[in-house]
């Protein structure tokens, strides 16, 4: 293990870097470019796992594991959870609405990247100490970190602990909605509906077709247009309602055409029969 942490990289690490590095960059790009948030999240998770491997490769064993457990395991799951909450299948439009924003962003990104690369390239980073000594000084990477955290960085550590608790409480405060009044009973709701004078009877049922899962298909009004009321609001907002009104008409049209053809052929046969009969 200690050799891995040394400043000289082995060929194996080089190969690993180039392969996984590519993966990480592609993952990052996909995070930015995917239209659906859930895909972005998955790509980001992939990048993070790659980074965890790099940590391990750099001798930061503890961090590598924490990266997987905390980041990939906890934080990314939190992301996915929120994505689900907000609407998992809604795709973002990537069309830019602020004039010039994309160009400026690209320009700044490119410029910044070039600057960073140039800076790193200019920096004299040739002599590495390697991590071997540091990692082994107290018996291992974890022990070494622990020694530092609980000595030199103990205040920072404690303060981050406080920060975490504050954040947890803050999140609760932000998302929790205090119920300030008694929940209304079914009777009261019914009475309210009567007072407001709309939808006295139950909402109309969704359209039911044998070939479809009916919940996401709007029931059709007599003129053939779909009724909004028949499908759940959540589905509507996610854009997951399927409109089958035209489909039904087309089905009918196809049916009619087919029967026409069938009937036409019958008539032709009939005529022929008739001619034959008169002949």
């Amino acid at each position: 293990m200690s050799t891995l942490a040394a400043y000289a990289t082995s060929t194996g690490e080089a190969v690993q870097f180039w392969i996984l590095g590519t993966v990480a960059v592609v993952g990052a790009l996909c995070t930015v470019l995917m239209r659906r948030a859930v895909h972005s999240a998955l790509c980001l998770a992939a990048t993070m796992i790659v980074l965890a491997v790099f940590y391990l490769a750099n001798g930061a064993y503890f961090l590598g594991v924490v990266q997987i457990v905390v980041y990939t395991g906890a934080i990314m799951m939190l992301f996915l959870f929120v994505v689900m909450l907000v609407g998992v299948t809604a795709a973002d439009s990537l069309k830019e609405t602020i004039k010039g924003q994309r160009w400026l962003a690209a320009l700044c990104g490119l410029g910044f990247g070039v600057l960073l690369v140039a800076g790193i390239g200019n920096a004299a980073l040739r002599n590495f100490n390697g991590l071997g000594a540091a990692n082994t000084a107290r018996g291992g990477n974890v022990e070494g970190l622990a020694a530092l955290i609980f000595t030199r960085y103990v205040f920072a550590f404690e303060i981050t602990g406080v920060l975490l608790i504050t954040a947890a409480v803050g999140a609760m405060v932000l998302t929790h909605r205090e119920r300030t009044e008694r929940a209304r009973t079914q009777r009261e709701l019914a009475e309210q509906r009567v007072r407001e004078g709309k939808h006295l009877p139950p909402l109309p049922a969704p359209g039911v077709y044998a070939r479809h899962n009916a919940v996401d298909i709007a029931g059709l009004l007599p003129d053939g247009t779909p009724s909004e009321l028949t499908v759940s609001r959540t589905l509507r907002e996610r854009g997951q309602v399927r409109d089958v009104s035209r489909e039904a008409m087309e089905d009918l049209k196809a049916l009619e055409q087919r029967s026409e053809e069938r009937l036409g052929r019958d008539r032709a046969e009939h005529d022929r029969d008739g001619q034959e009969a008169t002949r």
Binding site: I98, Q101, L104, A105, C108, G111, F112, G119, N122
Partner: protein, 632 residues
């Protein structure tokens, strides 16, 4: 005795303060108080005069320093008085005529609800005028100078509800201010030249100064005199000043204030004596005004304006005489005093006529008044004879001397020119005064009803008005003779003004004869034109010269076009420039910043991502800067 000098000024000043601050409680008695205080001042003057007569000719000058007025490093102005023969003459004239006119005003202003204030202003005028002639330095003289200007402003505009009166008052003050600029600059020149502006030191150290400086001082003093004494080119205000009540015209715009310019020149005689160019300018101004006023006087139908033209012309004589140097100073002052008598008398007579004619001033609507106003007719007539220089009356003695002196100017061509002008002026004077006399008191009645349709009922004025007229008529008749016999007046003034006997280019009897002939000719022409034919009620169109003279020889029109219009355009364009250019630059800058901010505001579009871009760009710039700094 010195302490009495301050009392001369203090008495009318007290009157002015009490009357102006006293409020309506004094409405009933105010005019009496004013008159009494004016008379008190005259009495003090008479006492001082008696005292002065008791002393030798060289010891007659009294000075009295009250207190240090403006003590500043290198600049000492005192409130100090000087009473010598010259000031004494003026004191007696001012307080004497002033008291008479106060008396006259009691009757004249009887029906005016603001009579108390009128007397307050009159007292203020007396105080300022006495300060003017009693001051021992030019700066204090300047105070009196502006003080009489203020009193004149207030009195011309006394009937302020008449826009024409208010305008005339403003015009008088403004034109006088132009003259005041001259006096200011003269004082400043004296200060820089002599380090002082007190009469004694300045006039006694004239020899040390260069002629150029003295000429400059002289010309500036002349400018001042032109303003105050209505000499060309600053004469335009005097005609309009007749908008004031007639006693004001008599006192201020005939007898006293307008002669202040002559006083100034005579007082500064030492300076003029050393600056012949300035003297020449004075003589020219006097001669031009003499003719100018006379010509204007010939054409005016308004009795007061005709008299105003005459005043201008007579002061022209005085200025002309004052410009002649030691041969003329005493005669200038002598004519000034006799003129004070007869011109005040003439104005009071005119006032009396107007009083009886529903305040009508147009002579074409008078006529035949001699039977209705006998006292006025006689006193006015005596004044008339005096002013045209009828032998034996006051005007003859004083004017004749001036004509002689003018012929004596410089022994050569100049003597002929200015002597001739003075002689011609005498002729024109006789013409226009005869015209006034005939149109007013002779011929047939041309009376017209006034604006309300009341026909005039001419009647003799009350005693309070006629008595001053009679007293002044006495002066008009006898004063000149009294002064001239034995050169009394000349000898009296000589210690102050110096005196040389004039040596005219032609003999004195010839001049006297010529004068008499010329004035008879003038009077005869006037008789031929106005006495033998009926005078039309509506003024005929007249010749080119008549029309020009009616319009004051177009001087007002020139002023209007050049100064008023030009000034209006100038101020209007300056207001525009101030608004658009001076202010515009600033407002433009402000608008520029506003516009820029408006543009920059669009960057703040509220989109967090936009802000993020700028942050990111900023970070990039920071990185770039760091790298650059490392690279350098």
């Amino acid at each position: 005795m010195e302490n009495l000098i301050a009392l001369l000024v203090a008495a009318p000043l007290l009157g002015a303060v009490v009357l102006l601050l006293g409020g309506r409680r004094l409405d009933g008695t105010g005019h009496l108080l004013g008159t009494v205080l004016a008379a008190a001042s005259f009495v003090v003057g008479a006492v001082l005069f008696a005292d002065m007569l008791g002393k030798g000719a060289e010891e007659r000058t009294l000075t009295s320093t009250l207190y240090s007025w403006i003590p500043v490093e290198g600049f000492q102005a005192d409130v100090a008085f000087r009473l010598d023969q010259l000031s004494m003459t003026f004191v007696l004239l001012i307080t004497g005529v002033g008291t008479l006119i106060h008396l006259y005003s009691i009757g004249y202003m009887e029906h005016d609800e603001r009579r108390r204030r009128f007397f307050g202003y009159l007292n203020l005028f007396l105080a300022a005028m006495l300060l003017l002639v009693l001051a021992d330095n030019y700066l204090l003289l300047y105070v009196g100078w502006e003080g009489v200007g203020l009193a004149s402003y207030l009195l011309i505009g006394f009937w302020q509800h008449k826009p024409s009166a208010a305008t005339a008052a403003k015009k008088a003050f403004l034109v006088n201010r132009v003259g005041d600029v001259g006096l200011s600059i003269a004082i400043m020149l004296m200060f820089t030249t002599f380090g002082t502006f007190a009469f004694g030191p300045v006039l006694s150290s004239v020899d040390g100064a260069s002629e150029g400086t003295l000429t400059a001082i002289g010309l500036m003093l002349l400018l001042a005199a032109c303003g105050k004494s209505a000499q060309v080119p600053l004469q335009s205000w005097l005609g309009d000043a007749m908008e004031g009540p007639t006693p004001v015209s008599a006192l201020i715009h005939a007898a006293t204030m307008v002669t202040a310019g002559v006083y100034l020149i005579v007082r500064s005689g030492a300076i003029f004596n050393a600056a012949p160019d300035a003297q020449l300018a004075v003589v020219i101004v006097g001669a031009v005004t003499l003719l100018f006023g006379a010509i204007v006087g010939c054409a005016k139908d308004d009795i007061k304006k005709a008299l105003a033209g005459s005043t201008m012309s007579q002061i022209g004589y005085m200025v002309l005489a004052a410009g002649l140097g030691p041969i003329g100073y005493a005669f200038a002052i002598m004519h000034l005093v006799t003129h004070g008598f007869f011109k005040a008398g003439l104005f009071l007579g005119a006032g009396s006529v107007m009083h009886g004619m529903n305040d009508e001033v147009d002579m074409r609507r008078y006529g035949g008044l001699r039977r209705y106003m006998p006292v006025t007719f006689v006193t006015f007539g005596l004044g008339y004879l005096a002013i045209i220089g009828f032998p034996g009356l006051s005007g003859f003695w004083s004017k004749d001397k001036i004509i002689e002196a003018a012929f004596a100017y410089d022994d050569g061509v100049r003597g002929w020119i200015f002597g001739g002008v003075a002689l011609l002026g005498a002729g024109i004077t006789a013409f226009y005064m005869t015209r006034v006399m005939i149109m007013t008191f002779f011929g047939e009645k041309r009376w017209q009803p006034d604006a309300e349709g009341n026909p005039p009922h001419p009647h003799e004025s009350p005693k309070s008005m006629t008595i001053p007229m009679i007293v002044l008529a006495f002066g008009s008749v006898f004063a000149g003779g009294f002064f001239a016999v034995g050169d009394r007046f000349v000898n009296w003034l000589a210690p102050v003004t110096e005196f040389e006997h004039p040596h005219p280019v032609i003999s004195v009897p010839a001049i006297t004869t010529a004068t008499v002939v010329v004035l008879l000719a003038g009077a005869a022409v006037a008789w031929a034109m106005y006495g033998r034919r009926p005078v039309p009620v509506e003024a005929p169109r007249g010749s080119l010269l008549t029309r020009a003279a009616r319009r004051d020889l177009y001087q007002d029109d020139v002023n209007h076009v050049v100064l008023v219009r030009g000034g209006e355009h100038l101020t209007r364009s300056l207001v525009y420039v101030d608004h658009t250019l001076v202010d515009g630059v600033v407002n433009g800058t402000a608008a520029g910043f506003g516009g820029l901010s408006g543009r920059l505001r669009r960057l703040q579009n509220g989109y967090a991502r936009s802000y993020a871009v700028s942050m990111f760009g900023g970070a990039a710039i920071l990185v770039a800067a760091t790298l650059l700094m490392r690279a350098v």
